[in-house]
């Protein structure tokens, strides 16, 4: 497969030249190891003298720990020791999940193990260290805890009531953070509007359910004072800093190795108490310690996401022009704000992103984030997007229905025009290089909604409710320092790449971006080989090792291609420049007359060149043959960060067509379309697969996934049999197409592509369902949209 798409970016040269790899759907040869069973995941690692842990976790959402008796448990077979907060706190300092740039956030100190009070079902309170996980679990059963169960604040909607259970008495109430955005004068504009529509939407908690659960092996080497951590995370350098800081280690002597990661989606970018406890245990025992979360632990301790109730109001004039939008969002984040990114960002994104594709002169948004006794909530794929896009697009559909306008037309007349960038979102966030108009046109072209109007009518005659929807959205990618760093978090917004020509003629590349399966290694290779002029197979890549890669942020917020990729491009160009300088000196010609093609330095005008291997041999082994004063460096390093704006936005338009069984409430998504503008596509196939995987995750949230809690704060469905992830049978085929508007912030011009599917699918699916239900005067407003909710809306039950 060598599927040439388009020559997307003139800054990258012609696609017809030799070794042009950017823009081609090349297979990930490097990833074939996974098909041979040769991946290296954390749980695959066994080290000499390695021990295993199992955590005793709170069975209650809110309870006082009167005492913990580990005497009997310590005598159990294979047990090495049992620690509670007292022992772990000797080695690991607590943390606080707040940032400084978004107004006041209030969250208490959190330690690896809960001390006197457990605040969510699943919070770790003690840990057994044993020769095997099974033996550690045997001992868990023998630990005696004297619990005093307390009332739990489970419902976020009553968390600020006067009689709410105060989870952290020192804070006085359960408010974590609040923010208001106010642009223009919404009240005045609503008065002037010809039509005003309102709705309130509910989004259940769901979670990432990475197939590989969280895992860590911590290996403290006393002799070297060195901590080596094998971790399936997304941000090795961030973990290096945090572990050094909280365990009081020399940061330079903390090494994080993240080899293959079995999916992350934001779940694995946070600091988890149990993982911090594991590092502390290794420090205390001086031996390697392994912790692999089991599936029950994943469900109750991986961060959850969403959990929002949002009401919105939209005012339009009789021509459909939007005059004002107002939203009020409430979110519950569990008992702690996660460290170090905080649990405010999802709500912040809701405020920033609502209405973002449209010209909305008057905009007001209020976000309130509260504590509750449930699993902590934090950033997961498409942070805040599903909520922002769903409220915006639901209101727009409602307005269209009210004034009798077509669903595509009302959007088209309100888009921020493609030729008007740089521009600003209704919330005031800078936007540039977007293409809502072109993307919607493309969507309508491939989707043919006229057909669905006819189908809808035919289906209705047959007793089937069918409907369709179209939406537009902005997607946050490639964050700058204004995202986290400015708030005081030690999270690098810069990424680096280092590339060298070796004595054999091989190219070695390392990058601070990590591989989570999205194809980082493949695209880095493509960029390096393309820019250097070498064959793809001559590039070897190292990722995910703080001792072996340049410093940088890692993989999150769709930043790999746009930031990490640009660093690779710059490093490759630097190395090429060095190589050509040396070659020019050796070949007694000027640099401008030379180029590199297929691993050879060639003369542009013909004539004999020199292979990179020969050149490298000369430089490394017979350096005396190079003319004096020639820079012999065959190693180049570069970094890149986004400056001046908070993010590089991507935009997307999506459509889908659904039908509803009126008897069972079962929804079938017949087809799904997505048009994405992520600028330069380094590997179009990989971009499309990001969209598809993302859409399916969005469908999961829209129709299936929910962390179900009872009134006492017990999660009811913490197994993979009961928590419904999307499986193959119910999922549609997804047609993906593109519009290309390169980012002006970099040479490579790539924007991110990982969030849109998950961010947009819930909105378009809900709109399509409501388009169908509207025929019988029904509506659904709560996700996941279960068969039961549909039947309730239809008045069947």
């Amino acid at each position: 497969m060598d599927d040439i798409k388009v020559n997307q970016n003139p800054k990258l040269g012609s696609i017809d030249r030799p070794n042009s790899y950017i823009g081609r759907s090349l297979p990930r040869e490097n990833a074939k190891k996974h098909l041979d069973g040769g991946g290296q995941f954390v749980d695959d690692l066994t080290l000499p003298r390695m021990v295993h842990v199992a955590f005793l976790r709170s069975p209650f959402a809110h309870a006082e720990i009167k005492s913990i008796d580990t005497k009997t448990a310590k005598l159990s077979d294979g047990v090495i020791d049992i620690f509670t907060a007292k022992e772990i706190d000797e080695v690991c300092k607590p943390w606080v999940g707040v940032l400084g740039h978004l107004g006041e956030m209030r969250s208490p100190e959190q330690s690896p193990l809960a001390k006197k009070i457990a605040r969510w079902q699943g919070e770790p309170i003690a840990v057994v260290i044993a020769n095997s996980r099974a033996q550690a679990e045997d001992a868990l059963e023998l630990i005696e805890v004297d619990w005093l169960e307390k009332d739990a604040q489970v419902d976020m909607e009553t968390a600020l009531d006067p009689n709410a259970v105060i989870i952290h008495p020192e804070l006085g109430n359960n408010l974590f953070w609040t923010r208001t955005v106010n642009q223009g004068d919404v009240d005045k504009a609503f008065k002037e509007a010809d039509a005003v529509v309102e709705t309130t939407l509910d989004f259940a908690r769901h979670t990432g359910v990475t197939l590989e659960s969280r895992g860590i092996v911590a290996d403290w080497n006393k002799a070297e004072n060195k901590m080596t951590i094998y971790h399936n995370g997304q941000a090795p350098h961030m973990m290096q800093h945090i572990i050094a800081k909280h365990l009081d280690l020399n940061e330079g002597l903390v090494r994080i190795i993240s080899r293959d990661v079995g999916g992350s989606f934001g779940i694995k970018v946070h600091v988890y108490p149990d993982e911090m406890a594991v590092t502390a245990i290794s420090k205390k025992l001086g031996r390697p310690v392994k912790f692999i979360a089991d599936r029950l632990e994943s469900f109750t301790t991986d961060i959850h996401a969403r959990c929002h109730k949002i009401s919105g109001k939209l005012g339009v004039d009789k021509n459909g022009k939007i005059l004002a939008m107002e939203i009020d969002d409430l979110s519950g984040i569990g008992p702690f704000s996660m460290y170090p990114r905080t649990s405010a960002i999802e709500t912040n994104q809701v405020l920033n992103l609502s209405g973002a594709p449209y010209v909305i002169p008057n905009y007001k948004a209020v976000g309130t984030v509260v504590f509750q006794n449930k699993t902590p909530m934090c950033q997961y794929r498409a942070v805040g997007h599903p909520i922002a896009v769903a409220i915006t697009e639901a209101l727009i559909d409602k307005a269209a229905y009210k004034i009798g306008m077509d669903l595509d037309k009302i959007r088209k007349i309100n888009f921020i025009p493609d030729n008007s960038y740089p521009n600003k979102s209704p919330s005031g966030v800078p936007l540039e290089d977007l293409s809502h108009q072109a993307s919607m046109d493309k969507l309508l072209e491939i989707m043919d909604i006229e057909k669905f109007e006819t189908k809808k009518k035919d289906d209705y005659q047959k007793g089937i409710l069918s409907g369709y929807g179209v939406i537009s959205m902005c997607e946050v990618t490639n964050p700058s320092p204004l995202f986290y760093g400015v708030g005081g978090a030690h999270i690098s917004s810069q990424d680096g790449a280092s590339i060298r020509l070796e004595g054999s003629g091989a190219i070695h590349l390392s990058s601070s971006i990590t591989e989570q399966g999205q194809g980082t290694e493949a695209i880095m290779k493509q960029i390096a080989a393309d820019q250097l002029g070498v064959k793809l197979e001559s590039v070897r890549v190292t990722l995910g090792d703080t001792d072996a890669t340049p410093y940088g942020g890692g993989t999150w917020a769709s930043r790999g291609a746009g930031i990490g990729g640009e660093a690779v491009l710059k490093a490759a160009r630097k190395l090429k420049d060095n190589i050509l300088n040396i070659a020019a000196a050796i070949m007694q010609t000027d640099k401008e007359s030379l180029d590199i093609e297929d691993n050879n330095v060639v003369r542009k005008n013909g004539g004999e060149g020199i292979s990179l291997q020969k050149l490298a041999e000369t430089v490394y082994y017979r350096g005396h043959e190079i003319p004096k004063g020639t820079n012999p460096e065959l190693l180049a390093t570069a970094s890149f960060l986004i400056e001046g704006i908070p993010f590089v936005f991507t935009n997307s338009a999506m459509g889908c067509q659904v039908s509803i069984d009126q008897d069972t409430g079962i929804i079938k998504i017949n087809k799904f379309w997505a048009v994405e503008d992520c600028g330069t596509q380094i590997n179009p196939k990989l971009v499309e697969e990001q969209i598809r995987g993302g859409v399916i995750q969005g469908i999961g949230g829209a129709l299936f996934e929910e962390c179900v809690y009872d009134d006492q704060g017990n999660m009811q469905n913490a197994t993979m049999a009961d928590y419904l992830v999307p499986m193959a049978y119910e999922m549609p085929d997804i047609i993906v197409d593109h519009v290309t508007t390169n980012s002006g912030r970099s040479i490579i011009g790539a924007k991110g592509a990982g969030e849109a599917g998950t961010g947009g699918a819930p909105a378009v699916i809900m709109n399509a369902i409501n388009n169908a239900l509207k025929q019988v005067g029904a509506e659904v407003i709560s996700q996941p949209i279960t068969p039961e909710k549909v039947l309730k809306a239809l008045g069947k039950i």
Binding site: G37, G517, D733
Partner: protein, 158 residues
């Protein structure tokens, strides 16, 4: 009585013989295989719901987390590391071509399920392929590329 908390069993993995190996009676086959270095067999849920640990036992696909190691006594086991015949090499090429995996964690189970589909010689539609793989969870791809790859394999094998 032969009942015990550890047992001595014999079996083959990918043709390699294991004679009189001691296993704890409570250990499931996936944990046991992994302890022997066959780390290509992945554990996603340990309750039979995700399909990642699916291997071949005596010619049939089974969830290795739902089989005790002791039950494998006398069995011929095949794990992803042993999927090296001509048909499976072709399947791997097809998976690679369609990018029918991202992180690779589901791939061993997905390949085993594909193998069983192909051995059945059934000419399945896309919907039927989706039905056959509906016990294998993949969080990354959204399944379409996997269906594409299997569809192509079915066409080539038949």
């Amino acid at each position: 009585m032969a009942a015990n908390n550890t047992l001595s069993i014999s079996f083959t993995v990918n043709g390699e013989k294991f004679n009189n190996v001691n296993v704890p009676s409570r250990q499931h086959l996936a944990d046991f295989l992994r302890s022997q270095g066959f780390t290509g067999t992945h554990l996603g849920c340990e309750q039979g719901a995700c399909g990642a640990c699916t291997i071949e036992m005596d010619g049939k696909a089974v969830r290795s987390c739902l089989v005790l190691a002791s039950q494998a006594n006398g069995s011929d086991l095949k794990t992803v590391e042993g999927f090296d015949d001509k048909m499976m090499e072709q399947v791997k090429q097809s998976f690679l071509k369609h990018n029918a995996f991202q992180c690779g964690f589901c791939s061993p189970g997905m390949l085993m399920t594909t193998k069983e589909i192909l051995l059945s010689k059934k000419k399945l539609t896309r919907d039927e392929i989706r039905s056959e793989i509906s016990g294998n969870y993949c969080r990354c791809t959204g399944y379409q590329s996997i269906v594409d790859a299997i569809e192509e394999c079915i066409n080539e094998v038949n």
